[in-house]
């Protein structure tokens, strides 16, 4: 990579991503509203929300919580930068994991029943999706011969035809990371439910804004991983990611929240099982 490519990757990952993420959140809210027969807010509403959050005064329960909000945001940004630099995919996933851990610890650092519930459930969500993501990286490795994202681009042919089983598992992981039904167990979308807002309950003002921003980055990162399944060519991958995003929205609107044992069962037996099946297939038939 030449130096201008590196700078471009940094700009893309740090500056452009929030705009994409915010826009996607706007589309999400609009489409969800339409599916439910409502008008919905304008597409740019998430940006208004975050800007307003940043203008509020800081109220909190302790300092640890605030520090960990920065941790959540910056580590996810770091992992996105690694992605944009076409680094090791497994490394990207591990750093993403560190970010998620910060979120959990932030919510566990307050002695509040709702926030504690949310934190523990978020942990179980990580237990559900992290193995899938790591095995996806291995599946991609088996096709390309290296864990570097750069190698996928050199591959020359799309991965989806031989990794479509893995793709299905990735969809499950995407639902969990986007905190959508049926796996929205750590932070229910609506604050009037039994865990209030789960992990987010004790955050307010600009720090809640930071978390929202981090969530946009996280979502874009996961969609980018999905888009890797159809390179080279920029558009097929992006279309695949957008299609997956749409599928998740539909699933969100037609399902209800599951309990954690069920979530684990679906994601391990379904998701993990699928990837392992795909790996076995790759070993026996070479794709």
């Amino acid at each position: 990579m030449s130096w201008w490519q590196i700078i471009l990757a940094f700009i893309l990952a740090i500056v452009v991503t929030p705009f994409i993420g915010g826009l996607l959140r706007g589309v999400d809210r609009k489409l969800t509203a339409r599916m439910q027969g409502r008008r919905g807010p304008p597409i740019q509403q998430p940006f208004y929300d975050v800007v307003k959050l940043f203008s509020k005064q800081t109220i909190t329960t302790n300092r640890t919580q605030l520090v960990l909000a920065y941790g959540y945001l910056l580590l996810i940004v770091a992992s996105l930068v690694l992605f944009a630099l076409k680094q090791d995919l497994l490394m990207v996933i591990l750093v993403l994991g560190v970010g998620s851990v910060c979120l959990v610890l932030g919510s566990l650092s307050v002695r509040s029943p709702y926030s504690q519930f949310g934190g523990h459930r978020e942990l179980l969500q990580m237990l559900a999706y992290e193995p899938i993501l790591i095995l996806v990286a291995v599946a991609i490795y088996l096709k390309t011969g290296a864990f570097f994202i750069g190698n996928i681009f050199d591959q020359g042919e799309p991965l989806l035809p031989s990794l479509w089983v893995t793709y299905l598992a990735l969809l499950i992981a995407l639902i969990i990371v986007m905190r959508k039904s049926p796996f929205d167990i750590s932070a229910s979308e609506h604050a009037h439910q039994e865990i209030v807002r789960g992990v987010f309950t004790e955050y307010s003002g600009s720090y809640l804004g930071l978390l929202e921003l981090a969530h946009w980055y996280e979502m874009v990162l996961l969609l980018s991983i999905i888009s890797l399944l159809w390179v080279p060519g920029v558009w097929p991958g992006i279309l695949l990611a957008l299609f997956s995003f749409f599928v998740v929205l539909i699933i969100d609107n037609i399902t209800a929240r599951l309990t954690w044992p069920r979530m684990l069962r679906v994601s391990w037996v379904g998701g993990l099982g699928l990837v392992v099946l795909n790996l076995v297939g790759l070993h026996f038939f070479g794709g």
Binding site: L90, V101, S109, V110, R111, L123, M126, L127, G145, H283
Partner: protein, 649 residues
């Protein structure tokens, strides 16, 4: 020179231990322990500077070891019989007696009847290479720090128990002797000598576990004894088969021997010995039982001695079975232990048991690496051995300090400890983070292990990977849950006051945490200087360190940039963010908070009710009772299949 430093490394701790046994004065004993520790640390660094060599002591020593070996077995037999007399027939004494007899009889048959000459001569007796030097560094540095820490811990411990007569001389006798035995174990090349030191570590372990002499401690000690005797018996069979098939008892020759299939059975027996020593499933219960011992013992067993002997041997003999079915079986077995212990740890409420499960799991991961058996995997295994030893030693010492402050080992009692004991809690939190988050050393090994297993050209690789990733995710869960307890605070504007600083407690802990973080940041030079030569002895190293990144053959771990991000994300805000008292509000309780700085809310009839929170343990689903029914038989089955395969092939 070479003979001298070897003799000092092995025999000096024995002597120092014996002197300890006679020293009733606690100050004199403390000075002796301090002196021995510093001497051992200096000695281990001398070994590192000297590099590889081999050495054979005069032939009389063979006789000494031979005699001592039988004395040791006779003592084990005595323990078994004494227990039989005191409580009658029981699994623990039946197994102890039976296994000692098997071991003694077969060893005697071999040495005096089957072997062509007595004693069997091996050339060289000691073989010092980079791997054993790494082990020596771990034993001498971490082990010594633990012994120093033990000086104060045992004082507090005995005061808390209210003992009339101190039992410390015997305690430190075994503690220090343990270090000498471990040094002998890692340097020995002759299987007979190795077997002797192997049994001495079993003895020390048994004596230290039963130190408090409660019925529970005695039972756990005996369990540790007989389970390790299974491995000892395995060792004797390995000796017999190896000599039978190869005509030598030199470990180096066995590893380098061509015609591997012939050797698989002795190697499998050695693997059995490593599994019991490292407390792999289904032998995990002895290490869990060992938690009744005083905390320095746990720290010593888990980080620098005992269990490390097992994984050391696994890594040592790995090149001999590369590419065989045994190798795959070992990887599968290690992976199974790694996953199951991580899941079992989730339901544990006692801090030391969580640490114990984590140890067994990490050793499983090292054994998995030995089984995957590619250069990258072996790199991962050795790196993990080092980083795990540092972090785990640290964590046990931390738990010991916490225990002596709150007199509890229960994780729930540690809730909000960060505002009561900020110093030690911060160190513990950092220690836990060094065990589980990228880019710390343990995670580098985990990363390398995943990539190496992914690249393993075996049909079993997807299954091993599945075990690996599920175990790794479950590891995150149990650690973070615990961290959450530490951090869970009641909103308050008051700043936490630092607890008093005790050099003997805090200095070893601080040294270890600095070591864990420092080596993780400087992993590139550390790899080049220490790990790479050890891997290079039997494999072609694949890891390079351009830009101070960790370049595996098929991926790249970028450690220091992520450390920079971590510093920016966590350290800078924690220094910069300042809160005014009016910015701090109580936690959300649906508007029913009591206006005070305690965690309370208004419930029925506006009654003030204390707010109670706790961690998830999921004991109904993931409890030991539920899961061990499946895990133990499965582990045993894998072990049996492994042996069956080896015998058939």
């Amino acid at each position: 020179m070479e003979g001298t430093i070897l003799a000092i490394a092995i025999m000096f701790p024995f002597f120092a231990g014996f002197i300890c046994l006679g020293l009733k004065n606690s100050r004199a004993r403390a000075s002796l322990i301090l002196f021995t520790s510093i001497a051992l640390i200096a000695l281990s660094i001398l070994f590192l500077r000297h590099g590889a060599f081999h050495y054979t002591p005069p032939a009389e020593w063979d006789i000494v070891i031979l005699v001592l070996d039988y004395v040791l077995l006779a003592y084990f037999l005595y323990i078994g019989i004494a227990d039989f007399i005191s409580i009658g027939i029981n699994i623990r004494n039946v197994f102890t007696i039976g296994l000692v007899l098997i071991q003694g009889i077969f060893l005697a048959l071999f040495e005096f009847s089957w072997a062509p000459y007595v004693p069997v001569e091996v050339e060289p007796i000691f073989f010092v290479d980079q791997l054993s030097i790494i082990m020596c560094l771990i034993i001498c540095i971490i082990g010594s720090l633990i012994c120093i820490y033990g000086i104060k811990y045992m004082e507090d411990h005995e005061r808390h128990l209210g003992l009339e007569r101190t039992k410390q001389p015997r305690f430190f006798f075994y503690m220090i002797m343990f270090l000498g035995a471990m040094n002998g174990l890692v340097f020995a090349n002759s299987l007979l000598w190795l077997c002797f030191f192997w049994e001495v570590t079993t003895l020390c372990c048994y004596a230290l576990i039963r130190h408090d002499e409660t019925p529970e401690a005695i039972g756990c000690g005996l369990r540790a004894l007989w389970m390790n005797l299974i491995g000892g018996a395995g060792f004797v069979f390995a000796i017999i088969y190896a000599f039978n098939r190869l005509g030598t008892l030199s470990l180096a020759e066995i590893i380098a021997a061509p015609g591997v299939p012939l050797l698989l059975l002795p190697l499998a027996f050695l693997c059995l010995a490593t599994f019991t020593k490292s407390a792999q499933m289904p032998f995990q219960s002895w290490l869990l039982g060992a938690m009744v011992a005083p905390t320095p013992v746990s720290a010593l067993l888990h980080s620098s001695t005992m269990v490390n002997a097992g994984v050391y041997l696994a890594l040592r003999i790995a090149p001999a079975f590369a590419g065989t079915a045994l190798s795959t079986g070992v990887a599968l077995f290690g992976g199974f232990t790694f996953m199951t212990t991580a899941i079992l740890a989730i339901s544990q409420t006692e801090a030391k048991r969580v640490l114990a499960y984590s140890t067994i799991g990490n050793l499983g991961l090292i054994i998995l690496c030995a089984g995957v058996n590619t250069p990258l995997a072996i790199t991962a295994g050795i790196t993990l051995l080092v980083f795990h030893a540092i972090s785990k030693g640290l964590l046990f010492l931390c738990v010991g300090i916490i225990e002596h402050n709150i007199w509890s080992k229960n994780i729930e009692d540690m809730q909000g400890l960060v505002s009561k004991l900020p110093l030690i809690t911060t160190i513990t939190v950092a220690g836990i983070i060094s065990m589980l988050l990228a880019p710390f050393g343990v995670l580098i090994s985990k990363w390398a292990a995943i990539e190496a297993t992914g690249a393993l050209a075996s049909y079993w690789s997807p299954l091993i990977l599945a075990l690996l990733v599920v175990g790794s995710a479950a590891t995150t869960v149990f650690w973070i849950k615990w961290l959450g307890r530490f951090l869970s605070q009641v909103p308050s504007a008051k700043r936490a006051k630092m607890e008093s600083f005790s050099p003997i407690y805090h200095a070893p802990v601080l040294l270890l945490i600095v070591g864990a973080i420092g080596l993780s940041i400087f992993v590139a030079p550390f790899y080049q200087g220490i790990i790479c030569p050890a891997v290079g002895a039997c494999y072609t190293p694949v890891v390079t360190t351009a830009n101070w990144f960790f370049w595996g053959a098929i991926g790249c771990f970028v450690a220091w940039p992520i450390f920079a991000v971590l510093a920016l994300a966590l350290v800078v805000p924690s220094l910069v963010i300042r809160l005014k008292p009016e910015q701090i509000r109580p936690a959300y309780m649906c508007g029913e908070n009591v206006e005070s700085e305690t965690a309370e809310f208004r419930s029925v009839a506006d009654e003030r009710t204390p707010l109670e929170t706790g961690g998830f343990y999921l004991a109904r689903t993931l409890g030991e009772h539920n899961l061990n029914r499946w895990f133990n038989p499965t582990a045993l089955l894998i072990l049996l299949i492994l042996f069956a395969l080896v015998v058939i092939l």
